[in-house]
């Protein structure tokens, strides 16, 4: 008991100190302990950023992603296995479960060894496709490092990726050249959760060094159809990154000097910076959005706390909706800015949207932006919902849904008849009837005796 309590406390403290927005327990699966030294700079970079690294061999008995049904680690870094696969505790199903429980995975492959079929089938579930032979490398005769791969042309030199689309943020950009030795290529399916981070150049192609050159008959994919680094973000915003070249993380390539065939100028690689960006994104240090307060209320000036977030509106009410969004950037939340070509939108939906409005930033706090929109509730009663559905590559998903009831006019909210000028005629008619009736009753009662007399005389 004592132990578990202190463990909890420890975890809590660890989380507080962690830089990632979702914990710092990082499991590194490394088959050969000797290889660990090759990546020394990489490990120390991670540790410097607050991660608590645990190294395990895939064959180890203690290796388990889960502890009593809960995640035992927050993040998982998989280096390519030598043998046939990762073993039973890292089966594709376990890794998918890990993703479903909001764990983040960075999987690095290498073109040097054949990728195990278990990994291939895991990637298939994520709609990432490897070449059928699973042992190709990307070769490019125009963008290779003339210093280290003069013959094989399999060390690719690439510019760092910029914006993927005009409406996304660039998390991997910067100056410098990336060197990707022995990159295993993959292609992307049409799953919208998958986004490429780094594509191969148009002149690249996939080549299997173990087969004869002439044997390549069916071209699987070429050029920039081949992706080298890709990201998959699940609906629950857990992240999976596939890195085609594990060697690019090695110390050797962090500070290598490379030379492109064209101009022949020697430069140092930006691999270290890129690795930082890649792990930071994968382990949720960047591109994490958080929704703060959500408020909706009638558009009026004197608001009390009871007026906030009512459960019921009336048709044609004037309504204001506010949402507070902040973005996590390495170690703190900062106000979220929507990319220039994009918009954060509010939908007012019942079965289909009745309103789709752009949320404009109305105010800004120290670490969040408040977006708001004002609109008139449509002339349709029902159960509506305020929805903010913002899903962009590299940003965690915002899917907010707040149900409110929109009711009809109550019977005493319609204009009274006397307020409608058209009704005056009939009101006058009604009252003249009633007045006539009263007058008649009086006259009748007054005339009673005479009439009775008349009757008698007749």
């Amino acid at each position: 008991m004592q132990w578990s309590l202190s463990f909890l406390l420890f975890c809590f403290l660890a989380v507080v100190h962690a830089l990632s927005s979702s914990g710092n327990r990082l499991l590194v699966v490394l088959e050969d302990a000797a290889e660990k030294d090759l990546y020394f700079t990489f490990w120390s970079d991670l540790e410097a950023r607050g991660y608590d690294l645990v190294f395990q061999s895939p064959k180890s008995d203690q290796l388990s992603l889960f502890d009593l049904g809960e995640r035992a680690y927050d993040h998982l870094l998989l280096l390519p296995p030598r043998s046939k696969g990762f073993g039973p505790s890292l089966s594709p199903k376990n890794i998918v479960d890990f993703l479903n429980k909001d764990g983040n995975v960075l999987l690095a492959l290498s073109g040097k060894s054949t990728t195990p079929s278990a990994i291939s089938s895991l990637l298939l579930e994520l709609d990432l496709h490897l070449a059928t032979d699973r042992s190709s490398v990307v070769v490019d005769h125009f963008n290779y490092d003339t210093l280290s791969a003069t013959d094989k042309h399999d060390v690719l030199l690439l510019q760092r990726p910029g914006q993927l689309r005009p409406d996304t943020k660039a998390y991997f950009d910067g100056e410098g050249v990336l060197a990707l030795p022995n990159a295993a290529p993959h292609t992307l399916g049409d799953n919208s959760l998958v986004a490429p981070i780094l594509r191969a150049p148009a002149t690249a192609y996939s080549y299997n060094p173990k087969e004869d050159v002439g044997a390549v008959e069916e071209v699987w994919a070429t050029g920039s159809q081949l992706a080298l680094v890709s990201a998959m973000q699940t609906r629950s915003s857990s992240r999976f990154t596939l890195l085609g070249s594990v060697e690019s993380l090695q110390d050797k390539w962090f500070s290598a000097t490379v030379k492109t065939p064209g101009d022949g100028k020697e430069t140092t690689t930006a691999n270290q910076e890129f690795a930082k960006q890649l792990t930071a994104w994968t382990f949720k240090e960047t591109g994490v959005l958080k929704v703060g307060k959500i408020e909706h209320h009638l558009a009026k000036d004197d608001l009390t706390s009871e007026d906030l977030n009512p459960t019921i509106y009336r048709i044609k009410n004037e309504t204001v909706f506010n949402i507070e969004v902040s973005e996590y950037s390495y170690d703190k939340f900062v106000p979220f800015e929507v990319p220039a070509n994009d918009a954060l939108q509010l939908e007012f939906t019942m079965l289909s949207p009745f309103h789709r409005l752009k949320l404009e930033p109305s105010s800004r706090t120290e670490n969040s932006t408040i977006y708001s929109a004002q609109f008139t509730v449509p002339d349709q009663h029902g159960i509506f919902s305020f929805r903010v559905n913002y899903k962009r590559p590299f940003l965690t998903n915002i899917e907010e849904k707040h149900e409110v009831t929109v009711r009809h006019y109550a019977h005493n909210e319609y204009p009274r008849s006397w307020k409608i000028s058209g009704g005056w005629v009939w009101i006058a008619g009604l009252w003249s009837v009633i007045g006539g009736f009263l007058a008649f009753v009086f006259v009748w009662l007054y005339s009673e005796p005479t009439s009775a007399k008349v009757k008698k005389t007749q």
Binding site: P92, K93, V96, L99, N100, S121, L124, E125, L126, D127, T132, L164, R165, L188, D190, N191, S192, L193, V194, A195, P196, Q225, M232, T234, R235, S236, S238, I312, M350, L351, H381, G382, I383, F384, P393, E403, T405, V406, R407, H408, A410, H411, N412
Partner: protein, 742 residues
């Protein structure tokens, strides 16, 4: 020996008061019998609301009691018809809820704390006692014989046709509506007889109350004008008719327009046009009659012809123009289905799908009315014998109600009162004829069932023919036997057929003891306790009110079938493949799907048996996507076993019903006890839903709708992956590859 004190009691002035007292006691006894015979269900089961509609009424009443009348009036119900909601306050007949609300508050004021549920449960029996009373008054207007009134009251009190809708717990509009119907008719007859504005106004007030209580008020709206019209055609116009009808119509129409649900219908809807037409007609007739007082016949004829031609021409053109231009709504669908029994089946499956709207089977008449059904024509004949205005009313009522009762089971209810009146007339005539055939000592005494004294009296005077001792004995005793049989039949029917709450099922164990099957409540309480307060439940509309009432969860559709498209959407979701249904479920925010399955127990009222109606209703809206034909085999059979069509076996309803059903049996031995067929060896696979709850006898099965797959796969693939099946790359890509552009 015995008759001398009786004679003293029953004769003269003291006799009048004695008879009055007796009559009062008998009426009180009848009312008590009427109430107590309806309590079977409470004794057998418990004090619980029955069936489907009463659950809504109960829920509405609770709302009314809790939130007060004002907010009840404006009630927007966001827990039904998700996500459309329902303007409940403006689309219901509030009479029932307001009545029990008033009773509740009166009792509270008298410091009698009563649970509102008990008021609701016992409202129908209470009002049935009042109905018996109203019946007495109505029948007394028809005949001079006091025994007829008492007989009619007794019949009304225990006749199964009425008990069927008014047992304790059957908290439905009909519970008070039949009382109002009978009482309104009584007031109307009174008005016609007296020609007084007051009775007419009272009739209008009760008509207004009736309008607020039941949609069947249209029956009164059409019957009274028809009565007046027939009287006019018979040349019986009199100022009494003018006074009573115009008063009733003017006040009654205004009163009915006060109900928001009815609103402008009385002047817009064709159902109400006959009343308006007769109103206009009687004005003309009155005017003509008035003018006739001044001029000789021949001139009057000419004047009349001119007037008639002009007026009818104008009226006809006006009606056509208004109907074509849409100012007057066309006849409502339910009304059409009254005239043409095939109409509903073709055009409005939703109306035809309700079992209450099916044509009546012949045995049902005898079952519900017993020997009254053959006394009924005799009673109508009695009315022809002395044809006063009120008898014309009885005849018209009989003819109309008989027809309607033949068309719709539910309208048996409107037939019942007039059957009681007519049968009581006939029976009392028989009794009067036989018992007082000779100038007996007390010709005006009531001749209910005191045969012993009658027999003794006639023993003194043996005679031939109907006055003979023998024939009197035979007649009276046979009548008594019939009456006793009737009582026995009523009791039997009530206790066996009409006292089941249908929420709780009862079955007999092999040893004869009663076994309660409580799956409905089990499931509803599961929902209540294990799901989020706002979890949306999709089920077929039959169970909407119960889910709303017992589980207190929002539903998509319920028994108030105001939106056919929405119901068809549910029907489509149930009858389509999972891939089609799932987006529908997502779009409507459905969290759980509830189906009723009787296959394990042999409970025939389950969803597979109702399934074809879902298909038909969905087909009405999406004829291209749902086709009833696809659910039948090539030989036109509706099957669930190996021979079932692929459409059937892929439909969501089939999958949900038979999901895991195989696991209850030995391999290959799964048998559906309702359809009596052996099921396929391999059960259906569900991928978009997962089983959440199945009740003890599998009657209710609840499924949870899965969220979208976290990895963006479709559900089939995800389920296959979870089961450990390796995905074949070859099956992955069909057609040309899609290139990503970014």
């Amino acid at each position: 020996m015995a008759e001398s004190p009786l004679d003293v009691l029953l004769k003269g002035n003291s006799g009048r008061t004695t008879r009055g007292l007796l009559r009062f006691i008998i009426l009180a006894t009848i009312a008590a019998a009427a109430v107590s015979s309806r309590l079977f269900s409470v004794i057998r089961f418990e004090s619980i609301i029955h069936e489907f509609d009463p659950w809504f009424n109960f829920r509405a009443t609770k709302y009314l009691v809790q939130h007060g009348f004002e907010s009840f009036w404006d009630w927007f119900d966001d827990r039904t018809w998700h996500p459309l909601g329902r303007v409940t306050g403006g689309t219901l007949y509030p009479g029932l809820m307001v009545t029990s609300g008033v009773i509740y508050h009166v009792l509270r004021f008298l410091t009698i704390p009563v649970d509102i549920r008990n008021i609701c449960v016992l409202l129908a029996p209470g009002f049935s006692g009042l109905t018996a009373l109203a019946m007495y008054f109505l029948t007394c207007e028809m005949t001079t014989s006091p025994s007829a009134g008492l007989l009619a009251a007794a019949f009304m009190g225990i006749v199964p046709g009425y008990i069927s809708r008014s047992v304790a717990g059957s908290y439905d509009n009909e519970a008070i509506a039949i009382f109002l119907l009978v009482f309104t008719f009584f007031l109307w007859i009174k008005a016609v007889k007296n020609g007084s504005i007051m009775w007419g106004a009272l009739a209008a007030l009760f008509y207004g109350y009736m309008v607020s209580a039941w949609g069947g008020y249209v029956f009164i709206t059409n019957l009274i004008p028809l009565h007046v019209f027939v009287l006019l055609c018979m040349g019986r116009y009199s100022s009494r008719i003018y006074i009573s009808y115009t008063t009733w119509y003017a006040l009654g129409t205004l009163a009915s327009m006060q109900i928001p649900f009815v609103g402008f219908l009385p002047i817009r809807n064709s159902d109400h046009m006959s009343a308006l037409g007769v109103f206009g007609l009687i004005q003309l007739v009155a005017f003509a009659d008035f003018v006739r007082g001044f001029i000789p016949g021949k001139h009057f004829q000419r004047l009349l012809t001119t007037m008639i031609i002009v007026v009818f021409g104008v009226a006809f053109v006006g009606l056509v123009v208004l109907t074509v231009s849409g100012v007057i709504a066309p006849w409502s669908g339910r009304f059409y289905s009254l005239w043409d029994t095939g109409y509903a089946k073709i055009h409005i499956p939703i109306i035809a799908s309700v079992s209450e709207h099916q044509p009546t089977a012949w045995p049902a008449f005898f079952f519900d009315l017993n020997f009254l059904i053959w006394l009924f024509p005799a009673g109508v004949y009695m009315c022809f014998r002395d044809l006063k205005d009120e008898h014309v009313f009885v005849i018209i009522y009989s003819v109309l109600a008989s027809y309607f009762a033949g068309v719709m089971v539910r309208l048996m209810l409107t037939l019942t009162p007039i059957v009681c009146v007519a049968a009581a007339l006939a029976l009392s005539t028989i009794l009067d004829t036989y018992v007082f055939a000779t100038n007996g000592p007390n010709p005006r005494a009531k001749a209910n069932e005191d045969t012993s004294s009658e027999g003794l009296r006639s023993a003194r005077k043996p005679d031939v023919g109907i006055t003979s001792y023998f024939s009197k004995t035979v007649m009276t005793s046979s009548v008594v036997v019939y009456l006793l049989l009737f009582v026995a039949h009523c009791t039997w029917v009530t206790s066996n057929a009409y006292s089941s709450p249908s929420v709780v099922l009862a079955s007999r164990m092999p040893d004869g003891s009663q076994h309660i099957i409580d799956d409905y409540r089990e499931a509803y309480y599961w929902l209540r306790q294990n799901t989020a307060h706002n979890a949306k439940i999709m089920s077929w509309w039959d169970y909407g009110y119960q889910i709303g009432g017992m589980a207190d969860r929002p539903t998509l559709v319920d028994n108030n079938t105001w939106n056919n498209t929405h119901i068809a959407t549910v029907g489509k979701a149930m009858s389509s493949r999972e891939e089609v249904s799932y987006p529908i479920l997502r779009q409507h925010d459905v969290d759980y799907v509830l189906v009723v399955f009787g296959g394990l127990l042999g409970y025939s009222g389950d969803d597979i048996n109702k399934f074809l109606w879902m298909v038909r209703i969905a087909e009405g809206i999406w004829p291209d996507e749902v086709k009833e034909r696809d659910f039948f085999t090539a030989r036109g059979e509706y099957r669930v076993d190996d021979g079932a069509t692929p459409t059937m076996r892929n439909s969501l309803m089939y999958k949900m019903s038979y999901h895991n059903f195989n696991s209850m049996f030995q391999p290959g031995q799964a048998v559906d006890r309702v359809r009596g067929s052996r099921l396929p060896a391999e059960g259906p696979q569900l991928s978009t839903l997962e089983e959440a709850f199945t009740s003890e006898n599998w009657i209710i099965r609840i499924y949870k709708v899965k969220d979208l797959d976290n990895l963006g796969r479709d559900h089939n693939t995800a389920v296959a992956f979870d089961k450990g099946n390796k995905r074949k790359r070859a099956t992955k890509r069909k057609g040309p590859r899609v290139l990503r552009t970014e």
